[in-house]
Symmetry: C2
Subunit: 557 residues, 2 copies
């Protein structure tokens, strides 16, 4: 074999044809005479996923112009170039294919169309694409290359199995080398599943496999990259880092070559994964939207503390501002904890007391409506004044407000719409509360010099919207709540092992408590509809991945 292949793991912006093409051209210019093949990822020109930009005909016409530029550029280099692009479907059905093109010396030598189009969870490819029918194999410089585009390799593990199995098709063609291009989002367990799946394909086809994934975040979806190469026995021979752009060139060894050193393929533990993923999610949202900085409301609690710490890691302490907004119900400890936190992290902290405004609004309420604001009404007033102050700072400075809610709160609606839910992005909204604790501890281990104060981690969670309020007044303890929520929200997707762990907890919970939590989740759907994008880390997140009616009615597991 001895073919030199370059893996280009890049960070694309959706719809930014010029910017994406520039990145691709840079790699070609650097590697075009070093490698035999340069492999880019799925839909690298348009970015993944372009959503309904695909419905605009000029979008595809523009993409085609950029492809022509890449072809032209390729004339100056010896390498074959593999790109992911949107191809036109000239037959019946949807107007496009999710496609791959092999370019050599200015020409499109081969085109392959993705056969399995994911249309579940966050994916909706059947909305725009028609499945391919072309065999995924071609000859290139005496080698049989086999191709897969992302989902093509997931037939056996997708929620729905198809008779149409591109891997079986490929195996019949006896490829010498398999090239899999992907835009595979990162979430709990994904790296493990991916490595398992694609090394199995390599073994099944007795051929080395090059797996190229994009990296970077687009809105709520983060792509880890973590591209790799394995040999025909499924052994890792190259692993690219996760959560960064990386270009690497490898000589694919001959089957006979037993001297290749084996590397272990990446499988991060959950907490490390969340850490990396959230930092990239925040950083890319800020960069791609063009915000000059981030502002976070600091309550003295663990969610806001961790959000501030992650924001700092993403864009630097000098671009992050915190505002603490005490009321009569805020403990002195909370204010001190916010101060200690921002001192440790080197973050600018403003203190904005909302007490006078809170008092005035309670007074106005009574005057106008002739009755005092009830408990919940009064609690939400505080949260909404705080949300408004954060938005004032955002309007004044252009800074992005990061909201601080976690998945446990969002699930049961323990959050104030237009209050603490205010923000352009929610960093922790897909982490259950116990995972927030784990991540805060992980952060402190890595950054003892800029630690989240232990007091913040140790104290009992409280919204501090009423006298001596604690989360546990209205909610089950978090280990219990999280176990119920995980089963209700993603029970069909988590592993048997995870289910068993949760079941140990669930066996000690009364049916009433469980039914109450499920009801809260259903009733809070209207709040989640108006939540900012939540950086996705779990198998099933709120948003496109979990679509529920608001005014409907159905309680279930």
């Amino acid at each position: 074999m001895s073919m030199k292949v370059t893996l280009a793991q890049l960070n694309y912006r959706i719809g930014d044809l010029a910017g994406n093409c520039k990145k691709i051209a840079d790699v070609i210019q650097q590697q075009g005479n070093q490698a035999d093949l340069i492999v880019f990822s799925e839909l690298c020109i348009t970015g993944y996923y372009p959503l309904d930009l695909l419905d605009k005909p000029d979008f595809i016409a523009n993409q085609d112009e950029y492809i022509e530029r890449i072809k032209k550029l390729s004339e100056q280099y010896s390498a074959g170039i593999i790109i992911g692009f949107v191809d036109r479907n000239t037959f019946s059905g949807k107007p496009y294919h999710n496609a791959l093109m092999l370019i050599e010396n200015g020409n499109s030598c081969f085109i392959y169309h993705k056969k399995l189009l994911p249309t579940y969870n966050i994916f909706s490819e059947a909305r725009h694409f028609e499945p391919g029918k072309i065999p995924g194999v071609c000859l290139f410089r005496g080698h049989r290359l086999g191709f897969l585009i992302c989902e093509d390799g997931w037939n056996d593990q997708a929620p729905y199995h198809y008779d149409n199995n591109p891997v079986q098709d490929l195996a019949r063609e006896k490829p010498d080398l398999i090239l899999a291009i992907n835009s595979s989002p990162s979430n709990t367990g994904k790296q493990e599943e991916r490595v398992l799946r694609f090394t199995h394909i390599a073994k099944h086809c007795h051929a080395p496999l090059v797996y190229v994934n994009q990296t970077g975040a687009n809105d709520d979806i983060v792509y880890d990259g973590a591209s790799f190469v394995c040999d025909g026995e499924g052994q890792g021979i190259l692993q690219l880092p996760a959560f960064e752009e990386h270009v690497a060139t490898l000589t694919i060894p001959d089957e006979a070559d037993k001297n290749t050193s084996v590397v272990s393929l990446l499988s991060m533990d959950n907490t490390t994964l969340y850490y990396q993923q959230l930092i990239m999610g925040i950083r890319d949202y800020v960069a791609k939207c063009g915000f000059p900085g981030i502002v976070v409301g600091s309550s003295g609690g663990i969610d806001s503390a961790l959000t501030i710490a992650l924001a700092k890691l993403a864009i630097g302490a000098d671009k992050v501002t915190a505002i603490t907004m005490p009321s009569r119900f805020s403990s002195e400890g909370s204010l001190q904890d916010s101060k200690a936190l921002c001192r440790n992290l080197g973050i600018k902290l403003y203190t904005y007391s909302i007490d006078d405004e809170f008092a005035l609004s309670l007074q106005s309420f009574s005057n106008v409506f002739k009755e005092p604001a009830r408990g919940l009404t009064a609690e939400n007033i505080q949260a909404r004044i705080r949300g408004r102050v954060l938005m004032e700072y955002s309007n004044q400075t252009g800074y992005l407000v990061l909201s601080t809610g976690n998945k446990s709160e969002l699930s049961v609606g323990y959050a104030t719409l237009y209050g603490d839910m205010c923000g352009g992005l929610n960093a922790l909204g897909d982490l259950y509360k116990m995972q927030v604790y784990a991540l805060a501890n992980y952060y402190n281990k890595l950054h003892p010099e800029a630690a989240i104060p232990q007091e913040i981690i140790d104290k009992a969670p409280s919204a501090e919207l009423a006298e001596n309020q604690q989360d546990s007044d209205s909610l089950p303890e978090y280990p219990v709540l999280d176990a119920i929520l995980r089963k209700y929200i993603e029970g069909d997707l988590i592993s048997v092992n995870e289910q068993q762990q949760d079941n140990v907890i669930l066996q000690q919970v009364s049916a009433e408590v469980i039914a109450d939590v499920k009801k809260r989740v259903d009733r809070a759907e209207f709040k989640r509809r108006q939540a900012p994008p939540i950086i996705r880390v779990q198998r099933r997140s709120f948003g496109m991945g979990r679509q529920r009616p608001i005014s409907g009615s159905y309680a279930h597991w």
Copy 2:
């Protein structure tokens, strides 16, 4: 022929298997010995569209139990019963079919699976269903019945054409009678297209056609019903009313019978359609969510005035509250107009001055951040105090806040997130500003005894968030803005006639103005993501029907 067919045009709630089944049973009990066939609409047991409730296996198991009850009930009656339901797919692919069942005397006699699954705009049926392969025809009491499920009849007009054409399949089977069951959402032009399409099918097949559609609103989607029957020459012989539940029985005439009286099939003009649709949209959201009433912020402008008038029509004046919240920038006229409006409509109006709170918040801002709040910051403070007051009333009473923005504002982001965008539902958010005027005038013609004051309709639109502010300071005049927006947002869907009308206006607009509007639309995506559900009336609405990246970048027509 002389078969008696009952059309059951009912209003279902998504996921409410018991409630939906009760409605179905009521009709069977009333009509079961009057008709030969009783026809219910698409997915009538689960409600349309159940979204990811379909992913819960017990949801389908429960549905099946209710189907058994309907079968059992049918044993007591002579009529055949046609229901829409979710059938299991025992082969490869998605686990379900969108299906139709003919029940007779306790038995399922025939099952048909929908062949064309709409997966564009607001539809995502490929997410859950596998297309059918069974011919849509069966024998029933000596008649050849042909079946279509909604999209099956739209192949020629769907955005994407398929070789697979259920209408052609049907024509070959030479049915005596065609039964089309539907959950066909209402929007601009839909009734006309639908009648054109299905009378054409009847002519093509030389067979009478029974078109049964559901009515009612589920979240943002409204179904008009407007079920009908046409003969084999495409002439209307029965028209059910739109936007209400209705059950009607008709003897389908023999081909030889020339005495059948022809009725014209329904095609409402746009303004009438919007009027009916928004009232039903508001009413059903309130009823299905269980709100005790509605509260609206009354600015003295046309959007809030019309929203209040529609809310009254939907649920009655006694259940609607208005709050006017003047600031130093509110004209005396605005306050008077709000008062006159609520007097005319018999709506309770509270006056809540936000001036003291606005002044205090400006003061606090300066104290804390050491600079005065800039123009936009100060404007948004006012909108957000008002949003908070509405939410206070909502928290205190359980009332639904209806937000009042229109599509023109939402398109360009001329709205304050967490301010005037606060609410559980937005009634006018899919009407361009000029359509809001048309609808207000239409309302006044119908309700001269409870009119929107002419002053409100006549005055120049203003947000009144700064001194002497008018919308035209920052936006093109509305006729121009609306034409640009319609082209940008749904230009590929509107008729050639509509395009030409807009083009007359657009020819006089500079390229800079157009480019600026398009940029504003793209930049406001983040606001729309956090908007409440908007009752859908146009061909393409914000929400599921128009999916765009936030952090992406692409300007286009």
